[in-house]
Symmetry: C2
Subunit: 531 residues, 2 copies
């Protein structure tokens, strides 16, 4: 394998016609060879047309065939070996353990979808049998299931160059659903993105799938990205990134002649509520865990804890003191690219300059070259927080604000004014939690995931994960972008009334050859009908 800088369109690797660029090593600021290309508008159109052409054939594959394809995607990614890991490290500044872990997570996701779809649950098959003798009117046979929504465009995230990128959760769930995918490669890890795209292209060929099942194009968001989202063939968009980026796509998609859903996971400030009894028992331990979560990966996680809410007093003082001491030891880390490091620096400064905000601690300053981010912890009182929306803006990186509320009532008020969040964390004893029913209800209303005595970083890929949340954490709170439920974003229901049995999709035939769990006349069963 080698990095060509080309675009993958309808199974062919072609030179992009939209300009040239190069990857950059954020640890050195140096460009990385070779020169790469961007797609132009015509190439985007060709990719969209190829995806549409693949819809029926890919949608008609069996769960087994699709499972085998996802497994093959994983195998081909592993076969990229060290070339992939080294390019990832060079493009992101991440250490080897991190990129290896992320590769494991990415392949694990592909395999999890491969196995989970076999039970057919996501098809949501429902059969209401005919009742020809019903009075006053007979009931026709009606059968319902969920079919692929159509071509999906995936915008990868900079911070997870594997797990939320070319073959990440969005791509894996869309392919698992039977939707052709066009990935818009992220400019922050273009070479590793292409390598993964090469792996997926090989899997498509090996599994004899239509070439349009997977395409890979690169370019600036405002033209290549916009062209993808407005291509009429495209039926849904997956995105992980900033609020500004997500909303630009959301607005474009809603203004199309045919609006389409955009699943944009746009991050949040992930409030951590620390309650007095828990701090009394273990302020130092909680503070240490918090600083670890805040500074891991130089704070570059959507679920990074950017807000801490507590009640003024010696317990909270102890927490701030330990956290500050710990943070002081944290070296400035290399961030993903120059833009992120600059935005972080400005955002951190902007937060520190807000009314009533005090800098409690800073991490070590940057040394030498590279796009580095210096950690910080700020403090502010509850009233100033409640009065100032800016303090709720996500600053992507290792910065957090501790809100010192006057009392439990002001704490509830502060939680009450929070916007939608991916996560909300409670550091508390079980006993004291029972005294804050209103706080719990409010938190539950505002977040996608409630975390108790853990930290929000570390998003488990499993069946019960909800990674998403009320706006502005995501554009659509009804869906998760991590875990097996992510597939629900890329299917839509259809029903068949009085349809010839032989022409029904396999999951809806009487025999239930796939042995999936279905609802028949309102009862759940894995059996055959009339068998």
């Amino acid at each position: 394998m080698s990095i060509t800088g080309k675009q993958l369109i309808n199974g062919e690797w072609v030179q992009g016609k939209g300009g040239e660029y190069q990857g950059v090593n954020p640890a050195t600021g140096q460009k990385i060879e070779p020169t790469l290309t961007f797609a132009d508008g015509e190439q985007v159109k060709a990719a969209a047309a190829a995806a549409k052409a693949a819809v029926h054939a890919f949608g008609a594959t069996s769960l087994k065939e699709r499972g085998a394809f996802l497994e093959r995607c994983s195998d081909e990614i592993m076969a990229l070996g060290d070339e992939l890991l080294e390019r990832l490290m060079a493009e992101t500044g991440y250490p080897r353990a991190r990129v290896e872990g992320e590769r494991g997570r990415t392949c694990g996701q592909l395999k999890l979808f491969a196995s989970t779809i076999q039970n057919g649950e996501y098809l949501d098959a429902r059969i209401d049998l005919a009742m020809p003798d019903r009075q006053p009117l007979p009931r026709a046979d009606i059968r319902f299931y969920k079919q692929p929504i159509g071509p999906v465009v995936v915008f990868g995230a900079s911070n997870f160059p594997m797990a939320f990128s070319v073959a990440g959760g969005d791509t894996a769930s869309a392919l698992a659903a039977g939707c052709p995918v066009i990935v818009k490669g992220h400019n922050s890890h273009p070479g590793s993105g292409e390598l993964v795209a090469q792996a997926l292209a090989k899997a498509v060929k090996a599994c004899n799938l239509p070439a349009g099942v997977f395409s890979f194009v690169t370019g600036p968001g405002k033209d290549v990205g916009a062209a993808l989202v407005t291509a009429p063939e495209v039926k849904a968009v997956g995105f992980t990134g900033s609020l500004g980026g997500g909303m630009a796509l959301f607005n474009l998609a809603n203004q199309r002649p045919e609006p389409i859903p955009v699943f944009a996971e746009m991050g949040s400030v992930n409030p951590v509520v620390v309650l007095p009894e828990a701090l009394k028992a273990n302020a130092a331990g909680i503070a240490e865990g918090f600083v670890g979560s805040l500074t891991m990966g130089v704070g570059q996680f959507c679920v990074n804890p950017g807000l801490v809410l507590g009640i003024k007093g010696s317990e909270l003082d102890a927490f701030i003191e330990t956290a500050s001491a710990k943070l002081g030891e944290v070296p400035a880390g290399v961030m993903l690219n120059e833009g992120i490091a600059n935005t972080y620096g400005k955002g951190a400064e902007h937060l520190a300059g807000q009314k009533g905000v005090t800098v409690a601690a800073k991490g070590k300053a940057a040394e030498g070259t590279g796009f580095c981010g210096q950690a910080q912890i700020l403090t502010v009182n509850g009233a100033d927080f409640i009065a100032n929306e800016h303090l709720q803006e996500e600053v992507f990186g290792p910065s957090s604000v501790v809100i010192q509320c006057a009392d439990a009532s002001e704490l509830a008020q502060a939680v009450g004014c929070l916007k939608g969040q991916l996560t909300g964390t409670l550091q508390a004893t079980s006993e004291e939690l029972a005294h804050y029913p209103e706080l719990l209800a409010m938190l539950q209303e505002k977040v996608g995931r409630v975390v108790f005595n853990n930290y929000p970083t570390g998003v488990e890929v499993c069946h019960a994960m909800m990674h998403g949340g009320p706006f502005p954490a995501a554009t659509d709170a009804r869906f998760t972008s991590v875990g097996t439920k992510a597939i629900d974003r890329f299917v839509r229901p259809i029903c068949f009334q009085n349809y010839p049995h032989d022409l029904l999709p396999e999951p809806l035939k009487n025999g239930n050859a796939w042995g999936i769990s279905r609802w028949v006349n309102g009862e759940r069963t894995s059996g055959a009908i009339g068998g």
Copy 2:
């Protein structure tokens, strides 16, 4: 009971402050007593605040309690007796059998939700148990379910003054999900709307629910409707009506500081594909069934068959001939209101004036008073249809265009250029259907429901119904507005990580006291955990 013309806000019936109006009898054009009021902006705000105040208490009700409430709603509607039926007839021009049938359907829907939610399937409960010894990292206990999305605004439809109105499918499914509802009463059946609202208000009181669980306001869409959709407390909107109305709400909702989902079912032209072998066997029978479906209820159904697509030839000629003869006998019917009758008249004329369009038949002309609609069947050839988007515009009423395609390939092309549809119907023999795989695949891509040798009118309320479809049939093809799956629109997922067991919502506790079907560690089970 008597009709007061008041608004129901937070459990109180109050005089509207937004002006006065009266209902109109479409059969006579006469106003109906008494004088009614419209709400003003402040009253809308009060209704939204009351709904928000009810969120937690109503969301915390058990499935049994919510089921009992829905049953009570049905009982209170039945208790309205003849007063409701007579007012419905006066306001809509519908005959007694129709309004009785619709009352039955409405109460049936409420009862169906009451019973169906008991199995807890819509909660989609999933539990991934902790794996404290997992390497390299332990897994926390994670539990997922779907909770009510928050206050829902429902815009009723004119054409189903019961089943898609105040206590119709949107309201029933939102209440079943545990969401407070604010209904914007339809100006075309204001008195009967109020009576049903009175019934629901009694049920709320009788079940000791917070008053904000159900409110009822009336007024023009452009101010009262807009104020409802932009109220920050509102988290979702259900709507059935025109494309223009639905899109106005959709755009408003997406431009809010916090965008919210709008489930607008905006109707479609519901193509009926008639294939030669079926016509050869029974052109007259198919034509008769078609005219019955087209003219039933004066064509005032979202699923009214506004397009017929066939292949030129003696079979299609025979179909057109019989259909025309049958249509000629159909008397002009009273439509729901003056606006609908006028819009229908203009739309029917507009269609008839398109290039290449011929009037094949007209129903009987209107006689006497009342807002009547005269049925029509038009014909046009395939090429003119394919070239002219206007022929795809829904004309709400008993008008249909028969597309005479040159051959099977042009038929496929005509189906290929269709926009999204609620339904697509096939009149065919099973044998010939097998020769049109591409046509079937294309139809399946464009519709929410495929109907075989039935007609699209008559939407069954059941578990397997999909009433919705790709845009512009609906704003969100991923959800149905009829049948038990309609509840999915009004819930959103949340997960709990490492949460204290006693504080978990009941459906996620180990004991599974409600006995619902859950996914535990990736396996479906109705059992308890560790029990």
